[in-house]
Symmetry: C2
Subunit: 380 residues, 2 copies
């Protein structure tokens, strides 16, 4: 390893096919990749203390610009020392641009959209109090600089994945906005990542990757996936996009993160993932296993003394039975959200850590084969 | 200290006036007194992991027989290894008899009571599904033996504190039930405590203490207080009751536990307290301070970088600002219940630990005077 890595340098420790194990240098320490980021939408990974987030093995946490801009406000957070100090997380952090949430406001059929887009930016109403707000590329950079995460994202337009004309138009805007974000960004201890868009269209994805590469971002995200397209389409988009991105920069697949997605994403050269799934389903009483899932409300768990997963080493599995977790869920006790979130995140992070170890050992292909083998057996 | 204490022996390490510092031997280790017990109604101290309960300084946890009998059932818990294993708490535990909850079912004016009492026991309907159930002294002992806490409580009848005739009748029953519980109790690793009743009437309290003393319980509780009477009345009842209880047995003041109550209860010879207050108010956004409280919703905290209490060493105060806690509360994030519960319990436990240290140092009178002095100053 390089003893004096520079900020935002991405060092590859090993590669195995397209898969890479590396380290991305941030102002809050090196981020070892591949990595999976829990989502802390409102400056908290729901139901967990930062210490618990650390203990499940997390090293990167994502927060949402849209939510934090509206409440408590990016200037409030800046005055309190930035997002790390505010939420008590001293490791690497990433904020999205807020674009995805704002564009989602237009999504429901038959309802008046809550946002309007023009070439300069997007105007939207607050979901909290209905007040009017405007995001432009420059404003989104300013907000993220106030929040002060280690990685910030450009503003992009998220189009429905299979509408070619829409994606063509959206891509023009996304690229213009990427240039403006790049020009507006000044914070030296924060890396601004570009975002490749283009729906499910290989030529648009290629065009986007080429364009963004020209702006020389310290890292690249692939956006607009896991929003309704098939896995085959997702993989095809990765296959066309990743080879066009610089090998010496980290690659982040936004909002994607089932166990299968980690294995298949890494196999296609992805370094960073995030997903709300493990914590969201935990709050609904669902436990993720390596090869399936449990709805803890199921009566068959009522007297089950076993831990969720015999092989799991998380706090929940070391101390509590399925029967206890079911009791907490049925009794509507908050602790169940905490204990299932711990287990679900630990499961995801264990998989990504195993993947990294496999790449370093030159055994990723075998790991991937065994992963799918185990799932086939478990389904049989 | 005695190097080989026997189970349920109560050793007094120091006394200071009526205040005592001691150790009560349980099958899960010595319980150092005076002590304050967080309440884990449904086999969980709400919003906290057992590790967090331990870290705030708790050594004794209370659980509710009534709730656990109804859900998941005492036999389910017994089959899973008992309450300690079920909820992952390896320190001393106490279960109440369920009587208080059952008698509370008759409390609302103009509504048909959900329970009927006779000399043999009490019949009630489940708040979960309306099914009929019956508690007798023998049944309540059996349930608590199944749960397996270190300390169990006799079944008692809780009367309105200021109704003399009702208290006279209830006391007859309470005493008969205490005898029956005492006779029915067989579990060698569990101590059964008697409960003194008698409302706000000194002669009834004295009569109850004398009667129960004759049954030679390994510990004595004082029940039926903090249910509407004044502090002056509560203190008068302690002043008449405590001197009639054996000096070499622990004394437990049930359901009582503000900071003032701890200081004044210990001054009157109480060793054990419990109260839901610190965790209940935490879930409503209230932070307990040593000399007051904060409603964290208050807008004045929105940009306040200070911890809840500069002098507090709890996890919450070491890592988070008032502004962050207010943000979590306003944003309806579960984490605020966890962080405020940690702080509130830590505050209560710090006070009780200070009280113990003051007794051991022979400085309890000075501690008590300083406690009231600080409150007088803070209110001024």
């Amino acid at each position: 390893m390089n003893p004096h890595p520079k900020l935002f340098q991405f060092e590859r420790h090993a590669t195995d096919g397209a898969a890479r194990a590396g380290a991305f240098q941030t102002a809050h320490g090196p981020l070892l990749t591949p990595i999976y980021a829990p989502v802390g939408t409102q400056a908290t990974v729901k139901a967990l203390t930062p210490r618990q987030v650390r203990e499940v093995g997390a090293s990167l946490v994502l927060a949402n610009t849209y939510h934090l801009y509206l409440r408590p406000g990016d200037e409030v957070i800046a005055a309190l020392g930035g997002l790390h100090a505010f939420m008590g997380w001293d490791g690497p952090m990433l904020t999205d641009s807020g674009g995805f949430q704002v564009f989602s406001l237009g999504g429901q059929k038959g309802k008046k959209p809550l946002r309007t887009i023009d070439d300069d930016g997007v105007t939207f109403r607050s979901y909290i109090d209905g007040s009017r707000h405007r995001f432009t590329p420059e404003r989104v950079v300013e907000i993220q600089q106030n929040l002060g995460a280690d990685v910030a994202m450009v503003l992009d337009e998220c189009a429905p994945p299979d509408d070619y004309d829409y994606n063509t138009r959206a891509l023009r805007r996304t690229h213009a906005w990427a240039e403006r974000c790049h020009a507006a960004h000044t914070r030296a201890d924060q890396a601004l990542f570009g975002i490749v868009q283009g729906g499910v269209f290989p030529e648009l994805r290629a065009q986007s990757a080429e364009f963004l590469r020209g702006l020389d971002f310290p890292g690249y995200a692939i956006g607009g996936l896991s929003v309704g397209e098939t896995k085959t389409q997702m993989h095809a988009m990765l296959d066309v996009t990743v080879p066009l991105l610089p090998a010496d920069k980290p690659r982040y697949l936004m909002g994607v993160g089932t166990p299968e997605d980690l294995v298949e994403g890494v196999a296609r050269g992805i370094d960073i993932f995030d997903c709300v799934l493990p914590t969201r389903v935990a709050r609904n009483g669902q436990a993720l296993l390596r090869d399936g899932k449990f709805n803890m409300r199921n009566a068959r768990f009522a007297t089950d003394p076993a831990p969720l997963d015999e092989r799991c080493t998380c706090y929940t599995c070391r101390h509590f039975s399925r029967a206890y977790l079911r009791h907490l869920l049925v009794a509507k006790e908050m602790l169940v959200a905490t204990l299932l979130s711990i287990h679900n995140l630990h499961t995801m992070l264990t998989i990504i850590h195993e993947i990294r170890a496999a790449i370093l050992a030159g055994e990723f292909a075998a790991y991937r084969a065994a992963f799918w083998e185990a799932r086939a057996t478990s389904r049989a």
